[in-house]
């Protein structure tokens, strides 16, 4: 009887896991997987609960190779560094499968963090399970949580990938400002424009996910720079 129940639970978990894989956290949802330790570029093992700030927490999915991330990197570095001064904890997470994209390996992350002047942790999600739990699919993709650990904003950094001087809507900065001022965040969700996260096939992974990650979303460059 017990084993039968477990089997049902397992099936439910598998089915739901599959269905939920494409769905990101919604506004108000709590931060998942807060106790999982991930390796930071400085060698320390850090979890989200350890870096969470009093005012809130900013979780950014990023990587080294992606041209979209590169286009946004200096803006992300500035916002991340500023956040920490305002009591918002920051963590940049690389969830890409290094076997698929060697340029997203740990050494590349270390160089990137140093060159980019990241004053916040940059960790490797070496199972891709953190990204999976968040429902993150792109790099860059940001999740801003309030002081209670509930999602306040999810999506893109701003509305212009390649022309920082022509940004009209500073989605993330506006959400941070609202959070710090104790006001309601106006725009809570936007579409993230970026490369697909290349998920590892492991643990919670279901087979279709590997397939879908190959095409579903703006995709990892064939060769970059082109030509």
């Amino acid at each position: 009887m017990k084993s039968w129940k477990m089997l049902v639970a397992l099936v439910v978990m598998l089915v739901c896991g599959g269905a939920m894989a494409g769905d990101a956290l919604k506004p108000g949802y709590f931060m998942p997987k807060t106790d999982v330790k991930m390796k930071n570029v400085d060698g320390r093992m850090l979890s989200l609960s350890e870096i969470a700030g009093k005012q809130g927490t900013l979780v950014i999915f990023g990587c080294h190779h992606c041209p979209f991330f590169k286009a946004w990197e200096s803006r992300i570095a500035k916002i991340g560094n500023d956040c920490q001064k305002q009591g918002i904890g920051v963590m940049l997470i690389n969830a890409n499968d290094v076997a698929a994209i060697p340029e997203d390996g740990f050494e590349f992350m270390q160089k990137q963090a140093q060159a980019g002047g990241f004053a916040f942790p940059y960790v490797m999600d070496d199972t891709s399970d953190i990204a999976r739990a968040f429902g993150a699919t792109r790099t860059p993709e940001v999740f801003l949580f309030d002081s209670a650990g509930q999602l306040a904003y999810h999506g893109a950094v701003d509305d212009n990938t390649y022309k920082p001087d022509q940004v009209l809507k500073h989605y993330l900065q506006n959400a941070i400002d609202a959070l710090v001022a104790g006001k309601a965040v106006e725009v809570k969700e936007t579409a993230s424009v970026g490369c697909t996260i290349k998920f590892r096939t492991a643990g919670e992974t279901v087979k279709w996910e590997k397939y879908s990650s190959d095409w579903l979303l703006p995709l990892v460059p064939l060769s970059w720079p082109p030509g």
């Binding site: 212009n160 990938t161 022509q166 989605y171 579409a191 703006p218 064939l222 082109p226 030509g227």
Partner: protein, 185 residues
Amino acid sequence: MILDGVGVQLMTMKLIFCLALLMVSVGCGRPAVNSQPPQVALVSAQQLLSLVAESTNSVTMLHFWATWCSPCVEEFPDVMTLADTYRQRGLKVILVSADAEKDLDAVNRFLSDHHVKEKTYMASNLNDDFIKTISTNWSGGIPASFYYTHGATPVEWHEGPRPFATHEQTVLKMLNQQHNGGMVR
């Protein structure tokens, strides 16, 4: 066969069409000495929807792709075959590149390599507004295809690559519906 006014007009139109076709095919027969890549125009989502709404074709398909997107590149020849096969039956395919403006040369090279002769487009700023203007259901992932008959609301759309047969099925279904509905243009 009864030749009323409309019939005669149709016959005349068909003749003109055949002549035009002949002229075009003669033109194509000559080897292109200096084949310039087609012009790529930067567009906003609103401009694209206007293009779609103003299209006089039975079926208009918006197709988003990029040179750096491997599934897009794999699917591209099928999309071109689709456009070529059904152009005369009223299909217009509008290609929209999601590449960055700075990679215009790569886009032109790619289009030239794939013998694209029609005017194509590039998203001026692919962001949340752009994506939601095209469709609130679209995540912005590419490749993506949107199929329209009248107006700027897609009859069908798909995110991710499709086999040629699936594209064809959609287009044929829409073309047939148009013609059965007396909407022959």
